[in-house]
Symmetry: C2
């Protein structure tokens, strides 16, 4: 490949709306161009990287036994209604009317269509298990598309759907896919972690996410130093607290005229923040509920929504708070509500003695509160976020890192197949609803995530497998110096013969400009062919990650690059 024949177009300007490093660098490198909000054209350079990711994903899916198919991007409303997801997916679903006023959507994922295909194709348990995958453009109508291809509306995704007669077969394929995903991200050369996840809108029995570790990641990931336990903050669980100490203080009302936060109350009283309790007033379908977490903890909305009866809860209004507690926000607590209320205490709150809560009276808190004495024993649940330094269930310590979700695997169970009546005849000739798994990878997002993880001030630092080219031979003065141009072309042929994805930068740019381009677009290895080098029988070699260039003769160079 000669870069004079390849359309490369880097720019110096940083667009003002590009907040994220990967977005800025992809624009500067000329990998993508914006067509409209959340819609990007992939330039030849960008597409070259995207295709490398796509190829590795395809190879590993096939190695894992999955077979590729392709579902239309445009799918009928009726299909989505059969599982209730037409409504459930909400405004992210791009809805479309055709010329005959039939209603469709642009597929954001394809559980329904895959189950529909399986229903037509699979009739006997002998055809199972089978795992169908596709690599396809998807669309999600994000309310605030931003960060370039990290959260684009139109994006490239690998989605796979497996079908099984028995649950244990689903579990085996789930493990098989987890292993395949680990191979994929390992081959891509990314620092990644698999974490336990909440199944969210897709639903199902178990799910795990794959994250690329990066400081700019949207997700907080929780790890234990004591084992390989790792979970998304949404799902992460700290060790259960120790036994509750005995009560040692009397209950007392304290004046807190302007202290509306736990921090302020703790400071006023000279207490540790972990002795205070935050009261969160919410409305469930059954009525008013007060959720309690320690002052130094944060409520986890996903966990709270999983407590029996609290699915789909919302925050209570000030009027609702006044009605049920007789107080204004800032002084809320479980004692002396205006009406009987349901209380849900976090495990760590239930383990407290001598704690502080709001008095349900403006300007006052109550200290020295104890369960069993001042309040009945509460309903207990884990409703808080794990926290850096928490003890883990395995005895280790919890650490937090940030990640970018690039893959997600689900054990869906039978909900989709049931809704779509996707059955096969089992060993006894009876119709049995199939168990399903689904497995996604955000291919275009991986490109951005890799950049978030691997860059410096000069630009992108691609892992070898994702680089547009592994090595670029830069030619100084190709038009003026025929000997140099010939030597460079020969070297290119030798590198390609050695199995390297190599290109020749014969664009005739000034060396500084050429080198800056190669650093910006993240080429792992750069070789310079110059008149002076030829005279000395050497090439100037520089690794993208090294600070200095070296002079190497041809054998040394080939040895270095092949190694």
């Amino acid at each position: 490949m000669r870069l004079s024949q390849f359309h490369l177009h880097t720019t110096k300007e940083t667009p003002s709306d590009a907040e994220l490093t990967s977005h800025r660098l992809m624009l500067r490198a000329g990998m993508i161009r914006k067509l409209a909000s959340g819609l990007y054209t992939w330039s030849p350079l960008g597409l070259r990287v995207l295709r490398k990711v796509e190829r590795i994903v395809r190879e590993e899916m096939e190695r894992a036994g999955a077979v590729e198919f392709q579902i239309p991007t445009i799918q009928p409303k009726e299909l989505w209604e059969s599982t209730g997801r037409w409504e459930k997916f909400g405004p992210q679903l791009l809805k479309i009317k055709d010329r005959k006023e039939q209603v469709f959507c642009y597929s954001p994922t394809a559980e329904e269509a895959a189950a529909d295909f399986a229903r037509q194709e699979l009739s006997s348990y002998k055809q199972l298990p089978v795992n169908f995958f596709q690599i396809q453009t998807k669309f999600r109508d994000e309310i605030r598309p931003r960060f370039g291809v990290m959260r684009a509306r139109e994006f490239l995704m690998k989605d796979a759907y497996s079908f099984h007669l028995h649950d244990d077969c689903l579990v085996r394929e789930y493990e098989n896919m987890k292993a395949a995903y680990s191979r994929i991200f390992t081959r891509l050369g990314l620092d990644f972690r698999m974490v336990q996840a909440d199944s969210g809108a897709i639903g199902g029995d178990a799910s795990q996410e794959f994250h690329v570790i990066a400081e700019s990641g949207e997700d907080a990931l929780v790890f234990s130093t004591g084992s390989d336990y790792a979970a998304n903050m949404e799902a992460a669980i700290a060790a259960a607290p120790g036994e509750r100490p005995a009560a040692s203080e009397a209950q007392r009302k304290v004046e807190t005229p302007t202290q509306k936060t736990c921090e302020a109350v703790a400071a006023l009283l000279g207490l540790g923040l972990e002795r205070t309790v935050k009261s969160i007033a919410i409305m469930s379908t059954d009525g008013f509920v007060l959720a309690l977490v320690r002052g130094d903890h944060e409520v986890n909305e996903i966990k709270l929504g999983k407590v029996a009866g609290l699915q789909g809860y919302r925050m209570a209004s000030e009027a609702e708070i006044a009605t049920h507690l007789g107080s204004e926000p800032g002084f809320l607590g479980p004692l002396n509500p205006a009406q009987p209320i349901r209380i849900v205490a976090d495990r760590d709150v239930a383990a407290l003695a001598d704690f502080v809560v709001g008095a349900n009276e403006a300007g006052f808190h109550i200290a020295g509160v104890n369960w069993g004495r001042d309040l009945p024993e509460p309903e207990v649940a884990d409703i808080r976020n794990a926290k850096e330094g928490d003890r883990a269930a395995d005895g280790g310590e919890l650490k937090i890192a940030r990640g970018i979700e690039v893959g997600h695997v689900f054990q869906l169970g039978r909900q989709y197949a049931q809704a779509l009546k996707a059955t096969v005849l089992d060993e006894n000739g009876k119709a049995a609803v199939m168990a399903m798994g689904c497995y996604g990878i955000g291919i275009s997002r991986i490109v951005a995530a890799a950049i978030e993880q691997n860059h410096d001030e000069a630009g992108i630092i691609w892992p070898a497998a994702m680089a547009p080219w592994q090595v670029v031979v830069c030619v100084i003065n190709p038009k003026q110096d025929e000997a140099v141009a010939t030597a460079a072309a020969e070297l290119l042929a030798q590198l390609q013969a050695a199995g390297l994805d190599a290109a020749l930068d014969d664009r005739g740019l000034r060396p500084g400009q050429m080198f800056a381009d190669m650093e910006l677009i993240g080429v792992p290895h750069r070789v310079v062919v110059s008149e002076r080098g030829l005279a000395a029988g050497t090439y100037e070699y520089r690794s993208r990650s090294a600070s200095e260039a070296e002079s190497l003769d041809r054998d040394a160079l080939l040895g270095r690059l092949a190694g």
Copy 2:
């Protein structure tokens, strides 16, 4: 590849709504499944064939110097309005409103978006020429989607857009693309022809189509025996007629009480049909026009619409005919109209003497009519379809065959770039609007077209390059007979080592069922490994196109398949 691990699902039933052979065979072979009207899921088998076509198209586009990029499928209305095509494309354009009520379409082609990308990326003539291509799902909201993937609404297309400073550069790239297309269809193993075409809705200066020859083709193609002249019927031109003979008859009114067609009038008068003239009454934006073609010819609506002033014409109503000609249909003619009218005569009508026309009076025609004597010399144009047996301009004879359009190349000129202000600085530093070419291939349609051209009663007969596998090794009793299974696996490895795309049919089906499947899905070469064959040291080999199987030893088999 082992077929027991690949999802293959053939069926015997022929769906009632599948009219076309390729549609029926693709459904029976299990290559596609219908999701909704005009929307098909590609099964693993179908996708395997589709990807083979895609790969060849990509390789040849790259060999021809084009670079791949990717434009979003969802494109903003404003972009399409800038060239007037939002309206012009009509209801085929699938229109979409997003959650913010912004209006988009699903790209049916991408001239605007490509020109928009070029506007952002290209600033200097030094970056030219460049040819960007993509292989991508497109959508056209066909009013009557049918024939399976032959005319699906969602389909896979290769579209390319080239940019040039000068017209001669565009012409060179156009020729380069024509050569690339010929290589593509040659490699695919298809009987194809390149024909001159009308540019239609895309517009531009010159265009040619590539057709797969097949009896079921929707398009009539016209060839000359005298040269390589070939054209779509829309654009085909016969040789100009010879000189007009001298008038030899007097004009006379003849009674034709029930003779409303040229055929009936010719029969009544005992004249050749070529002496009669058909009058077609149309309304242009400037008013009533009478178009004349010989009784044995058919008017060509595309050619007629290209006559000055007739763009966008429509057929005249009976009332309009009565007003302008004073007659009812069946007896129309250019003589004695009720009002002065414009007359456009086909070249062959202008070359007639002593001809017959309607009298503009119910029940009468006029014979012995002559130009210059009975009528002023007419406005002349080629407005008829070419006809089998016509003389060609090159002196040969015109022949007609039917074809399926699978590719189309256009010299667009500057209309799109002008509308989108896609300019570069030229050699003199002045802004110059770029010239554009565009080049399409219907990748999914090629699959159906290949089947239309290559099939028999047993099923599909794939050309080697498109076959899901070149050779399948069929194992008799793989589960009962370990020696046979082992020998088959060894043979598979040898075939693969010889570079063949080979698979093993280890599904354990009965031989007849297995062979019928292989014939239906069109595998070019079938090898049977059986206990009896092993004992004799032979394999049963059958080519898909041969009527009989042969017994071959291993060397002979490998020699045959490698050859």
